[in-house]
């Protein structure tokens, strides 16, 4: 056995809820190379893998297991589990640092509310945070604050204003709004 000298060190990141439904699953492969194992391409295998893994880890109160030729570090929350999966010979602490980076960043962007509901509500920030931690298997960053600092908040400009206008100010303002909009578009040559 020998060490992995390539940068590709993370095989997958999974977030499952307590019914082992997928909240987030991503099996990584190098973007310009073909997939090496079935697990990356075959969704049936993935689901089976997740099922077995979940069975082994749920409410076991350990942070790490070796599972099916993978080293898996994970963290459980009230109604979800976050897994970081690497090769069998991968440095365990390295994987754990990635996990800590992720969970730390989640805590920052979700205001310490790491439950399934807030994860799904802020799904945009969640996926960006993961993308800023691991890029197709390569670790980009492991510091929670640094990861969080890369995640943009959702835009504040909102479409909701339109709705309020329509419901509260009556027809006239709606007409005015439409007129303004139409003339704007005409000017843009649309």
């Amino acid at each position: 056995m020998s060490f992995n000298t390539s940068l590709y060190s993370i095989d997958a990141i999974l977030i499952l809820d307590n019914q082992q439904n997928r909240i987030f699953t991503k099996y990584y492969k190098a973007p310009h190379e073909n997939a090496e194992s079935d697990l990356i391409t075959n969704i049936k295998k993935q689901k089976q893998f997740e099922k077995d893994l979940f069975k082994k880890t749920f409410k076991q109160n350990t942070d790490i297991i070796l599972f099916d030729h993978h080293t898996v570090v994970y963290k459980e929350y009230s109604d979800s589990v976050i897994y970081v999966i690497g090769g069998l010979n991968e440095n365990e602490v390295l994987l754990y640092n990635v996990l800590q980076g992720l969970t730390g960043a989640f805590e920052i962007i979700l205001n310490s509310q790491l439950d399934k509901r807030s994860m799904l509500e802020s799904y945009d920030m969640l996926v960006i945070a993961i993308d800023e931690t691991v890029d197709d298997g390569i670790i980009l960053e492991t510091d929670p604050s640094a990861i969080a600092a890369r995640v943009t908040n959702p835009p504040t400009e909102d479409a909701v204003n339109i709705k309020i206008d329509l419901s509260e100010k009556g027809l006239l303002s709606a007409f005015n709004f439409a007129k303004k909009n139409i003339s704007e578009r005409l000017q843009q040559g649309f």
């Binding site: 019914q19 350990t62 440095n91 365990e92 390295l94 492991t142 890369r150 908040n153």
Partner: protein
């Protein structure tokens, strides 16, 4: 409509995925709308991503549509929208067409966009580009790599790394920039778009130096073929302690390992680095360094290894579970090879037995069991039984396996082991768990004869209420074999007959056979009662049970008790792998006529009970070592993958079976050649000898086959040239001694490029009996006519010659490895003795394991008593046994001892044929 549907979705059960088609339509609509509503689009894209990350995919056409719609979002400048748009594009790249169209927009972003999404743009760009389009972005990448913003630089480095497989030579041109970025100071500028409340976390640091990790890995890719420049890089980077990032340091350790594997001379010059790493503030680095040292233990001296162990010892006590796990995992592995060294950690390991993480405690126990000595075994076993109830089946299996190996190691302790196994056997558990216990008990019965009665008693109790048919059958079979030999066989009969009454048909039929074996012992009364019991089975509802009862009764009632015996409890076992091979050959024979004669079972070698057991014992011990070394089984934690098991089985078939299989293959190949077929039986074939380097134009290796009156040399020749065709390939050999006369050679007519062929040359062995084992050397030259591969058929090539190395006939060629169980007895009986002493040289420069493995091959003898595994590292004694081609016994003990002058090797050989003994003792390469 859309705003309303959002609400509905959000309020509903959040685990239900949004509808695929709805998301698709809404995304298309929103992205094509004008003006673009950033918030709405971000929400929609996040739902699209939710689909992707739940495993949903879109067909190519839809993906491409989405891809282009999303690219329209570039009209909006909101960074928050842009960031998620990039993520979506990245996910869509692999399934969409014409992704190149977006290159220009991305490049514009990289040049003049906001710093917040620039890194995302760079990373997306690497997915869009390929080997032919990368040139356009070269300058951009270079600029980004040297950018002072750490995120941008990292993103560019990682992207370059992604692009290596498609455009290595282009990326190589950026090596100056990459090099520069390792040492450069980079920072994170803060952005107004990413303000978060850092509850409990410190604000984002100025820099994390992670770009060093990325840059280092990239440089390694440029330089890994050039050892000197790698060393230079390592020295430069470590001297000034420029690497501050732990990931980068871990990476550095891995590069150093590669270097050391190639050339162990670096160890001493690089050792100061290791000291640094072993006392690093990051446990990740400490673990990696310790792992390196202990995995390659042959390259480091004892003191250096001890240093690593001490580091691990201190890591065993840290609060972080993962670190403790990693440390104990490494120690567990070391304990297999060198239990003594891990002994210093015993105190810490014992504390870990009660660790809250079960994986850690299991590792701790198995490690302790390996390092344990006879005195501590009892204490350990008690400690383990205390927590057996609390752990899951997989862990129990690991513990049971460890106990099994332990009981073979300390046979005297069988009583406490059996009590332990008996206790766990009564516990609840699945099939695999019970099976491993049964395996362990079986082994104890087999190899520790004193334990037999107690263990059989236990098994009898167990089958009384065993829910697994398979286990019952195995136990019944064992009872049938061992029971009759026990002092009081009748006790077992009762247990077995209970099965006949109470169980299903499979168990009943095996119980019938087991019963009939008891009738073979010399006890009239017992015989009669068993016959009565068997007769009852004649009325059984199942035909298999009836058949077996009829067969047994028939045999028992026949006059010829010896024949009955040979059927009911045969003295010999067939070698199963060979039987399988022969049967396949028989069935697959294309010649229909061959089926007229029935399969010849006598061609399968038989093994007596004793031989069979000895071989098995060896397989067990070695199997255990192999298992642990490959780390596959213990790491699987019982998630048995069947393919894995198969491979292991192949590995585990004993050397002797492998040897026989190989010999048979040679015999078949050779007898297919008419000239050689008439030489009679093949007496011995040597291992393959390389006659050229592996990288030359023609790769030649040779195998020496010894026949009664001839020696045939089989040259395998591989033409590694792509454009040259060889014709009339032959090996011209001249022989040192005149006693051997060349008879003929069989050349290869045509050897196409990149193909392999075989040349056979045959020699007559000296007729004079006193020169039976005459050694000699063949000076070989490869002669051939070479042609261009694409030349016309009638074109004449030109003859050429190619020098290959000499081939010597060694004493080993006349020795057949074979197995005996009682080496010491045979050793004392053999009369002719010869010995020789060699100095192998400096202790550090040789790997004893390698020497031993090589000796086994050159002497062509079988290692006995598991002595082929070097345990202590300094002193070792290797016991070998074999037979000469004419059947004379030959035994050797090779002792290694290290002294101030270097490692000394003493080779003592004894045997029945004095001339061979002398040759073997004195001939060493």
């Amino acid at each position: 409509m859309s705003t309303h549907t959002y609400k509905k979705n959000e309020d509903g059960d959040s685990s239900i995925l949004p509808d695929k088609m709805t998301v698709y339509q809404e995304c298309l609509q929103a992205c094509n709308a004008s003006p673009i509503q950033a918030k709405k689009c971000r929400k929609l894209l996040s739902r699209l991503l939710r689909l992707f990350y739940a495993g949903e995919t879109f067909p190519t056409v839809e993906s491409t549509n989405l891809f282009f719609s999303i690219s329209k979002l570039f009209h909006n400048d909101d960074p928050a929208l842009r960031q998620i748009a990039y993520l979506s594009i990245k996910e869509l790249c692999s399934v969409s067409n014409d992704i190149l169209m977006i290159t220009a927009s991305i490049m514009k972003d990289i040049q003049s966009g906001d710093a917040v999404y620039k890194p995302d743009a760079v990373r997306t760009l690497s997915r869009v580009l390929d080997g032919s389009t990368i040139h356009a972005a070269e300058r951009l990448f270079k600029n980004c790599i040297v950018d002072s913003n750490q995120s941008i630089s990292s993103a560019a480095l990682v992207s370059s790394y992604h692009l290596l497989p498609v455009a290595k030579d282009v990326v190589k041109r950026w090596s100056n920039e990459v090099q520069e970025s390792i040492t450069a100071n980079k920072t994170f500028p803060s952005s107004s778009y990413t303000k978060h409340e850092f509850n409990g976390y410190s604000k984002a640091p100025n820099t994390t130096y992670i770009h060093q990790y990325h840059a280092l890995a990239l440089i390694y890719q440029f330089r890994n073929s050039d050892k000197m420049s790698l060393i230079k890089m390592i020295q430069q980077l470590t001297e000034r302690k420029t690497l501050t990032n732990s990931l980068a340091q871990v990476q550095m350790i891995r590069f150093v390992e590669k270097l050391i594997l190639d050339d162990s001379n670096f160890v001493n010059s690089l050792w100061p680095l290791f000291v640094n790493w072993l006392n690093n503030k990051s446990d990740m680095v400490e673990l990696e360094a310790a792992k390196l040292i202990l995995n390659n233990s042959s390259k480091f001296n004892a003191e250096q290894q001890m240093h690593a162990i001490t580091t691990l010892q201190s890591l065993l006590g840290v609060p972080r579970t993962v670190t403790r796990f990693a440390a104990v995992r490494i120690l567990n592995k070391v304990a297999i090879k060198d239990a003594e060294m891990v002994g210093v950690c015993n105190l810490e390991l014992e504390r870990l037995i009660s660790d809250q993480s079960r994986s850690i405690s299991t590792y701790a126990i198995t490690t302790l069991l390996k390092t344990g000595n006879a005195e501590s075994v009892d204490r350990l076993v008690t400690a383990i039984s205390n927590f057996m109830d609390e752990i899951s089946d997989e862990f129990k299996i690991i513990v049971i396996d460890a106990i099994r190996t332990l009981s073979l190691k300390f046979p005297a302790k069988y009583k406490s082991m059996l009590t332990f196994l008996d206790d766990v056997l009564r516990d609840e558990g699945g099939f695999n768990f019970k099976n491993s216990i049964i395996e362990a008990i079986f082994d104890i019965i087999k190899f520790i004869p004193e334990s037999k009665e107690i263990a059989l008693e236990m098994l009898c109790e167990f089958i009384e209420d065993c829910e697994y048919t398979e286990l019952s059958v195995r136990i019944l079979h064992l009872l049938g074999n061992e029971g009759p030999k026990a002092t009081n066989p009748s006790t077992y009969v009762r247990y077995i007959y209970n099965r006949v009454v109470l169980e299903n048909s499979i168990v009943r039929s095996s119980a019938v056979i087991a019963l009939s074996k008891f009738a073979l012992i010399d006890d009239k009364e017992m015989n009669n009662s068993i016959k009565i019991l068997l007769k009852r089975s004649l009325q059984d509802v199942d035909d298999e049970v009836r058949d077996r009862a009829v067969l047994s009764l028939k045999l028992l009632e026949s006059k010829d008790l010896a024949e009955a015996k040979s059927y009911l409890s045969p003295q010999f076992k067939y070698s199963l792998p060979i039987l399988e091979q022969e049967l396949t050959k028989y069935v697959k024979n294309p010649d229909k006529a061959s089926f007229k004669s029935s399969f010849n079972i006598d061609s399968i070698p038989k093994m007596s009970e004793e031989e069979y057991m000895a071989v098995q014992y060896k397989e067990k011990l070695i199997g255990a070592i192999n298992d642990d070394l490959t780390d596959s089984k213990s790491d699987n934690k019982g998630t048995d993958s069947s393919s894995n098991e198969d491979v292991k089985e192949l590995d585990n078939i004993s050397d002797i079976t492998k040897y026989t299989l190989l010999q048979q293959q040679y015999q078949n190949e050779l007898s297919a050649l008419p000239e050689i077929g008439e030489y009679g039986a093949l007496l011995h074939s040597s291992a393959s000898v390389e006659l050229t380097e592996k990288e030359t134009e023609f790769v030649v290796s040779a195998i020496k086959h010894v026949f009664e009156k001839h020696i045939v040399i089989e040259y395998s020749i591989e033409n590694t040239l792509e454009d040259i065709l060889l014709e009339n390939v032959n090996v011209v050999s001249t022989i040192d001694s005149e006693e051997y006369t060349e008879e003929f050679t069989l050349p290869i007519e045509k050897l196409s490029p990149l193909s392999k062929g075989k040349v056979y040359s045959s020699f007559i062995r000296p007729e004079d009996d006193s020169e039976k084992y005459l050694l000699t050397t063949f000076n070989n030259t490869l002669a051939y006519i070479s042609k261009d591969a694409d030349a016309e058929d009638d074109e004449e090539g030109f003859p050429d010659e190619y020098q290959i190395e000499d081939l010597s006939l060694t004493p080993g060629d006349f020795v057949i490895p074979s197995y005996i169980s009682n080496f010491t007895n045979v050793w004392d009986e053999l009369s002719n003795e010869e010995s020789a002493v060699y100095n192998l040289g400096d202790e550090d420069s040789i790997d004893l394991q390698q020497v031993v493995s090589k000796l086994i091959v050159t002497m062509s003898m079988m290692p006995i008593e598991g002595t082929e595994v070097v345990i202590s590292g300094k002193n070792h004694s290797l016991k070998l046994f074999g037979k000469s081609i004419s059947g004379g016994k030959l035994a050797a003990i090779v002792k290694f001892a290290s002294s101030s002058k270097g490692v000394m090797m003493k080779n003592v050989v004894k045997g029945e044929e004095p001339e061979l003994v002398e040759l073997v003792a004195n001939y060493l390469e």
